[in-house]
Chain length 371, copies 2
């Protein structure tokens, strides 16, 4: 029940506050708040921000968060690319870099590249390693939350149980937080676009299919950090063999990989090009994939009753056909109460959500939990 | 961020604490804690509980929750029965009554019976209305959480949008909290048997089928309070017509009502009798229903990664056949990470979970939120 960082948490919204306001809003003892402000001023995380109007006597000083005091290193490791960014303490991106990199190169090579790019971005920004508050990493596979290690990731040879945080901590200061890419996309989309929404479901449709669940404003990771793994839910009426060994998995039926195989092209970029050129087979395939995904999402809507359902991932950029198919099935198969006010939409930040979410992981760990 | 009831929340575990311990654990100012203890002593909610060992000088007084200070009225309104109980502030049942009552009699008759039974239980216990801290009610249909009103409940003619809380508040003191029966069963089972479990899914299999979702230790109600409504998720390979107007809904395929119709008997009691007498058709039907329910629960396990999956409701009492069918499909259709440590089991409190959950609704409202 102890709340040592209630002061910092209150200041996260950017609004300056007086000592009296912080005592009042936190319910903490005057001495606790005063001590906390002093140590935050000493680290530079909080700065003085003018004075409030006087009510007689010396006008009270106000304090605010200093978002630029420290930087967060955010890495989004994809199947075939690596994106690295520096953000401020609010998760705002200040510098970024994206480079092709095959995850099958293995953790040593990929994580060395994360460190190298991070150092390079810091140098360009005129900052140094000691300015880092921490590092957040998203990986394209299941991550066991308690250990931060990949757990039998299907497309990440050499990464199973690898100590990602330990490896990066050898070269980077501050905590290293690791999660799967869909969870960090959900965190980023929620923090950036839907901060006031309590219940949100983020669905990534790309080479694979996965979801991130925001429940009560917080990321729902589940007991082993495996929540949101909807790619292997059975799609009614399908028997396609999946790489997981089961049949009829949503991912084997409706992912970009499945559609690409059916259209005899190589991936989501080709599918998007075909759809944009008006190819009927591609348009039909994407819309039908939307319907299949919609069947599984209708079940998720019945179970969770979110108010926002965000479709992201590379295939979400294939015009409105995917979204149309999803909407068609979700509205047909969910009860009226659960779709009252349900907003089904495409991601608003297709390129930044993952990096911002990786930064939010660190922000929540550093600023909100006891140091 | 203000925490006016942190003191009471700390004492909910029953352990006596000194003023210094309460200040320490809550992080609140000494004056805040002292004032709160004084007002709690005045209401009788907290009582002195001896003294701690002295460390020199006067030994410090200790305080503990007095669970019997106030009573909670808990009502579980079923399709064909009404159960009413008095509990203490921890949700422990001190008196109860169950009577046959058809919910189709309508809200006026059913709620008048809740009040009459409540008064009668109070009288027998030698207590009066002024001892009531509040009333919790579970209803067998969707309830809009923000208003506490039933929302198009399919088996509750005359109840749609009825102001249940307003009606009861005319005759009963304290807040009246209303939720659907599955949510209160989940709350009761969680509080009673799995208080330390973060992620739990409670599934009721009876005339209908529904679920209660515990996420991060709290009930996940969703945006409109409709979360857990799994009875109308499509069951792969089925086209049975459901009373909701859709086809292939889980409830139309695997509920006690669906099985009873197939076996040409009248309900779950008959099914249980047949299963216990060794009837092969009944045993086979219950096991197959378990498999169909398991298909939907496998999807829920993939999405939420709970550590406990509890099967309750009348059909859960039909031996182990239902559970066996559910386990078979859940383990076959979920990824290994999500079933590592997943415990699939039958309710431990088939008769009390709903009443205890209705009491927990009130306890959480009265003791944990600002008064």
């Amino acid at each position: 029940m102890s709340e040592p960082d209630a002061v910092l948490r209150l200041l996260l919204d950017g609004r300056p506050r007086t000592r009296a306001e912080l005592i009042d809003s936190s319910g903490l003892a005057r001495s606790t708040v005063t001590g906390r402000i002093e140590s935050l001023l000493a680290t530079g995380l909080v700065v003085p921000s003018g004075e409030a109007a006087s009510t007689g006597g010396r006008p009270p000083a106000r304090f605010r968060l200093n978002p630029a005091a420290r930087l967060i290193l955010a890495a989004d490791v994809g199947a075939t690319h690596l994106s690295v960014a520096l953000t401020d303490l609010t998760g705002e991106i200040v510098a970024r870099s994206t480079t092709p990199l095959n995850i099958a190169e293995g953790p040593e090579i990929v994580l060395a590249e994360v460190v190298r790019t991070g150092r390079s971005l810091l140098k360009t920004a005129g900052r140094s390693l000691k300015d880092l508050a921490g590092t957040g990493v998203g990986l394209p596979g299941p991550v066991e939350h308690s250990t931060g290690r990949p757990n039998h990731p299907p497309i990440m040879p050499g990464w199973d149980s690898y100590d990602v945080a330990g490896r990066l901590s050898r070269e980077l200061p501050g905590p290293v937080l690791v999660d799967n890419d869909v969870n960090i996309m959900a965190l980023g989309e929620h923090a950036t676009e839907y901060a006031d929404v309590e219940h949100l479901l983020f669905v990534k449709v790309a080479t694979g299919i996965g979801a991130g669940v925001i429940s009560g404003g917080r990321l729902h990771r589940g007991a082993q950090g495996a929540a949101g793994d909807i790619g292997h839910i059975q799609t009614p009426g399908h028997t396609e063999l999946c790489r997981c060994g089961n049949v009829g998995c949503l991912e084997a039926v409706a992912s970009a990989a499945a559609i690409a195989a059916r259209l005899n092209v190589s991936g989501s970029h080709d599918i998007i090009d075909l759809v944009r050129s008006g190819n009927t087979a591609a348009t039909t395939a994407v819309r039908q994939a939307g319907r299949e995904i919609g069947t599984v999402l209708a079940a998720a809507v019945s179970l969770l009753n979110p108010s926002v359902l965000v479709i992201g991932g590379s295939l979400s950029q294939a015009g409105d056909h995917l979204l149309a198919g999803i909407r068609e099935t979700v509205y047909a198969r969910s009860l009226p109460l659960a779709t009252t006010g349900l907003h089904v939409t495409t991601t608003r930040s297709p390129y930044d959500a993952a990096l911002r979410g990786a930064a939010i992981l660190v922000q929540q760990h550093v600023l909100v939990t006891p140091s």
